[in-house]
Amino acid sequence: MVEARPRVGGAAQAVLVAKKDLRIEARSRVAINQVVPFALLVLVLFGFALDADTAALRNFAPGLFWLAVLLAAVLAVHRSVSVESGDGVGDALLLAGLRPDAVFVGKTLALGGQLLALAVVLLGGIVVLYGASIEDAGLLVITLIAAVIGIASTGTVYGALLAGQQARETVLPMLLLPVLSPVLIAATRAWGDAMGTVATDGWAWLALLAGFAAIYSLVGAMSYGTLLEAAHV
């Protein structure tokens, strides 16, 4: 390094990257105009598929909710990757001296923030459309956060691997959805407890979710540099 310059810590770098992604989202409005309506549409389609059986919809509301989140998450991950792969932004970030793990955390935060907002809208959707009722708000909220971190970190890992690939649209769901099946299982069970539709220990399922989120956050932070190198950008 030739010149001394203001040092930016890892956390600050992550916030910078997250703010960049969120700012792009705020200006392009892809998430709000396309991903959220898509997820709501999925909720409506589930209603048609289950023949508008109110009791069934209420019973399966947690599972349907998380399935809608997963499907929308695939779209959100595409978006998160494509803002990076155009114009060689990914390379530019690394050339600017940003730490790969900070980039990973930043992108995960931005993606997670968007998914969280999406989930809040969808939660309104299942309350209105399926008649879901919330019995344990604490469990519900913490589960939501843990699951979103798990989905966002996994999505960022696999998204980075496929950056710049023509075939990303078809390969990403194939890679991501089986990997996220434990999140679907655990989040559905925990919300089932929080919404009183199944008798199970939701907090135990929350622990599984937290474990998943921790593992993938760690894997992502440790391997993101290698991932970016391996990806064809």
């Binding site: 890992v157 691997l161 496929l162 690939q165 023509q166 075939a167 078809t170 390969v171 194939m174 890679l175 089986p178 990997v179 099946s181 434990p182 299982i185 655990a186 069970r189 199944v198 199970t200 599984l208 998943f212 593992i215 894997v219 391997s223 290698t226 991932l227 190198e229 391996a230 990806a231 064809h232």
Partner: protein, 268 residues
């Protein structure tokens, strides 16, 4: 017999041995092994797996090879990341293809077996079923990643990362599905309480030996084929370069024959 570019004397011998083994296995499975029929001591009824027991001789080796093959893929992926080995990259890819095939075979034969024995094609309460199914899907994802574009090095590293994560994911899925099944469905893996003995045990053991032989034989051929593809990619570029150089030399020769000097000579 025409020479195949992927066979050698050893692989041909192995191939013949595996083929003979397969024929012997069919004979053993359908003639030597009796249908599994026992008498329930209390009710006097005939119970057991009857002819369905013969499916074991495909199902068990297929499952064994599937897990063996994905273990090889994971090991290969680790070595690729560690030592940047091309050899292990080719091995990992070849093994995953055979693994995916065997995982599918395991699921199909298991499903056919489950219909008469469990009275259902699919059992949501069985952890091994669910894990194998998710493993199969993950392996399809891995194979899709292998086919993505990029230079050989990029593809190798990318596949190796997905290959390593494959192992992690299978462990996570297995643990969570186990928990899910035990908490929700109240049905444990329904392995029939039959003790395997006599001809059945011998045939099962024999089937595993034949299966592993078939795996090795397929690996040899798939590996050599993939290796040749690599070489043709590499030498393809070299050939093109050589052709371009020859072309340039020709131009120089013609120029010198016509004008007495080469283009470089004129400019200097």
């Amino acid at each position: 017999m025409s020479e195949s570019p992927t066979s050698s004397k050893t692989s041909r011998l192995l191939g013949v041995a595996v083929a003979l083994g397969a024929i012997a296995l069919v004979l053993l499975a359908f003639i030597a092994v009796e249908p599994d029929v026992r008498i329930n001591a209390e009710t006097g009824q005939e119970i057991g797996q009857f002819d369905a027991v013969r499916l074991l001789f495909v199902h068990v080796p297929a499952a064994l090879i599937a897990y063996l093959a994905f273990t090889v893929t994971t090991v290969g992926s680790a070595v690729v990341l560690w030592k940047r080995s091309v050899w292990w990259d080719v091995v990992a890819g070849a093994s995953a293809e055979i693994g995916a095939l065997c995982a599918a075979l395991t699921l199909i034969t298991g499903s056919i077996w489950g219909r008469p024995i469990w009275n259902t094609w699919w059992e949501w309460g069985d952890v091994r079923l669910l894990t194998t199914l998710v493993l199969f899907m993950l392996s399809l994802g891995y194979l899709a990643v292998r086919r993505l574009e990029g230079t050989a090095t990029e593809r190798a590293r990318r596949s190796a990362i997905v290959g390593l994560l494959l192992f992690l994911n299978v462990v996570i899925v297995n643990r969570s599905v186990e928990w899910w099944a035990s908490q929700t469905l109240h049905q444990k893996s329904t392995i029939a309480d039959a003790t395997i003995e006599g001809n059945t045990l011998f045939t099962l053991f024999f089937a595993m030996v034949v299966g592993v032989g078939a795996y090795v034989w397929m690996m040899i051929h798939r590996f050599r084929l993939a290796w040749l593809e690599r070489m043709s990619d590499r030498f393809g570029t070299d050939d093109l370069l050589a052709a371009r150089r020859a072309e340039a030399d020709d131009h120089a020769r013609i120029a010198s024959a016509v004008g007495g000097t080469s283009p470089e000579g004129e400019s200097s």
